[in-house]
């Protein structure tokens, strides 16, 4: 202390000052970040805008109060923000034409509008919410465990590595290679169209993240080379019969033809 008093300030003072400064910046930044986080929270304005969008784009089929119409469209009361984010965010809704199932197509709304629509539908009744980013972060999941769960619960329709497959009467389970992790999570949570619901008691949030991790592992290079869509023996058989047999027949004809 005497030395400190003598030198007016300690030799370590600049370091201490730097540390205090950094800590201050960190705290300020985290406060600012939590402020932006609250800014993405739903406001009454969002609900209001969402209601307008809904009335203009969805109410024809789902009804002005989202109560649904028998034989036309289901009630959306209680389906939650996750369902809206999935259906609208993958372009399945609004539906362009009725068919065996609503297909993913070009998304009709921007992120802001999807958020407002979700906010409106979520305001009608409690329902599954849009998952947080860390809940769908495959890098935090266990792909091996995800494979076990996927093979038991998903592979019968979506194929063993998520290549998709056929269902009855024109319906099908889509391939999962292009689907965003958030949409995969929301599909499990809400069970869109033919797909059953996998609630958090059936597949816990960790299980869902493991499944996302497994699916993300399938998106790299296929070790076996050309995978022909990974849809199973039909594609492979077609290839073998048409191309393989074609080549054999071609050679047979060449062997049999007299030289000119």
């Amino acid at each position: 202390m005497r030395r400190l008093a003598l030198n007016r300030y300690h030799r370590a003072a600049p370091l201490v000052l730097l540390f205090v400064l950094l800590a201050g910046i960190t705290i300020a930044a985290s406060i600012a970040r939590s402020e932006t986080a609250t800014a993405t929270e739903v406001t009454a304005h969002d609900v209001e805008e969402g209601q307008k969008l809904f009335a203009a784009n969805c109410a024809t089929c789902h009804g002005m109060n989202a109560q649904g119409q028998d034989g036309v469209a289901p009630s959306l009361i209680g389906v939650g923000a996750a369902s809206v984010d999935f259906q609208v965010g993958t372009g399945r809704m609004p539906m362009q034409s009725s068919g065996p199932q609503a297909m993913a197509k070009t998304v009709q709304f921007n992120a802001e509008q999807i958020r407002q629509l979700s906010a409106y539908v979520a305001s009608l009744a409690p329902g599954p919410a849009i998952p947080a980013p860390e809940a769908v972060d495959g890098s935090k999941g266990d792909p091996a465990q995800g494979m076990n769960l996927f093979r038991t619960n998903c592979a019968m329709c979506h194929g063993s590595i998520g290549g998709g497959g056929a269902l009855t009467q024109g319906k099908y389970a889509p391939a999962l290679w292009e689907t965003t992790p958030t949409h995969i999570y929301e599909a499990m949570l809400t069970g869109p169209q033919s797909m059953p619901v996998f609630n958090d008691a059936n597949l816990t949030p960790e299980d869902k993240r493991d499944i996302i991790a497994f699916l993300e592992e399938q998106r790299g290079t296929a070790p076996g080379g050309m995978s022909l869509g990974s849809i199973g023996p039909v594609a492979e058989g077609l290839w073998a019969w048409l191309i393989g047999m074609g080549i054999i027949v071609g050679f047979t004809v060449w062997i049999g033809v007299r030289s000119s």
Binding site: T168, S194, V197, N199, A201, A222
Partner: protein, 341 residues
């Protein structure tokens, strides 16, 4: 035996159809008349053999230089591709070269190869009969002697195939215990648990539209025959809106507030039926497209299956877990001979 360009005539054949003979307008190939064409064909054959050599080099080069391993999937893929292409060209070059050689440069004469008579000569036939008769005479067969030898030989011949047949047939059905087809692990009070980790399922966990893939609790702890027991006992648990369910008479108490459990083993040939469509309540078998209506006693609505899926009667215990009321009331899976129904 071959006769070149020789017309051949056979009285019996001519009666049945006219022998077209050999084509008279023999057209020489380009390589036969034009030495340049012959030279070109020779070069083509040599080039094909050359491709084979290059293919061999490519395969060896790919094997020797391309890095493979679990952490190098692209390298493994490239290695497989180039070794395969190398082998293809190595074999294909030899094959196509040899055929091209034969087609363009080897002798081009029509040849006739006469088929020899099927019947042996009279001398050979008489000799064979003589040998047979002498053999019979030596052994004493047919003359009433050596009864002991004949009897023991016939017995030995008749019994010998059993040494193969008894073990083969014996191994076919294992222990021939048909009753194990009729029963599964499910007992009164066995909890329904999630496949694969074995966590018991509460009725409140099963929300409408949910589907659970179910094993009996305790299956994962089995020491022996775990796979066999699983193959018989797997169940699909679904919750429907209770208003959608058409109850099969006598089974009203087998479900719980819209929760129903059906065997996952197809009654056609035993594939796991698991493609559940939530909106139509149809359950599709991936093997032969048998479709079952879960809302109507899992009756067959399409496909080759002949019987509905067996239903597992369920109830809820004091702690809220779903339990089995009993085993299935009929054998699960495809038909077998001794099945009653």
């Amino acid at each position: 035996m071959s006769i070149e360009n020789a017309p051949h005539g056979n009285e019996t054949v001519e009666e049945e159809f006219t022998d077209p003979g050999l084509p008279q307008d023999h057209r020489p190939r380009r390589a036969d008349v034009d030495p340049k064409a012959a030279k070109r064909a020779e070069r083509q054959v040599a080039a094909l053999f050359g491709i084979s050599v290059l293919g061999t080099v490519l395969a060896i080069w790919a094997w020797a230089t391309i890095d493979v391993g679990a952490d190098n999937i692209a390298g493994t893929q490239r290695s497989t591709l180039f070794i395969g292409l190398g082998l293809t060209f190595a074999m294909l070059g030899i094959g196509t070269g040899a055929i091209h050689w034969a087609k363009t440069l080897m002798r081009d004469h029509e040849m006739v190869e006469e088929r020899h008579d099927m019947r042996s000569s009279d001398e050979a036939r008489a000799g064979a009969m003589e040998n047979l008769k002498e053999g019979a005479k030596d052994s004493g067969v047919g003359v009433g002697r050596r009864g002991l030898l004949k009897g023991s030989l016939i017995t030995a011949l008749a019994i010998a195939p059993l040494s193969v047949l008894v073990p083969a047939i014996g191994n076919m059905g294992g222990d021939w215990n048909i009753s194990k087809f009729r029963h599964t692990m499910w007992r009164e009070g066995t909890r329904l648990a999630k496949d694969p980790d074995g966590t018991p399922i509460k009725a409140s966990d099963v929300t409408i539209g949910s589907v659970f893939h179910v094993i009996p609790e305790g299956l994962n702890e089995l020491e022996h025959h775990k796979i066999e027991e699983k193959a018989k006992a797997v169940v699909l648990l679904v919750r429907l809106d209770p208003r959608d369910i058409k109850h099969v008479p006598g089974r009203e108490s087998w479900s719980f507030d819209g929760i129903v459990a059906y065997s996952k083993i197809c009654t056609h040939v035993g594939c796991p039926v698991a493609l559940y469509e939530q909106q139509t309540h149809h359950l599709l078998c991936p093997c032969h497209q048998s479709t079952f209506d879960v809302s109507d006693g899992a009756k067959v609505v399409f496909g080759p299956a002949k019987r509905p899926l067996p239903q597992l009667p369920i109830a809820v215990d004091d702690e809220g877990y779903i339990v089995a009321q009993s085993d299935f009331h009929e054998p699960v899976g495809p038909s077998f001979w001794e099945r009653v129904k």
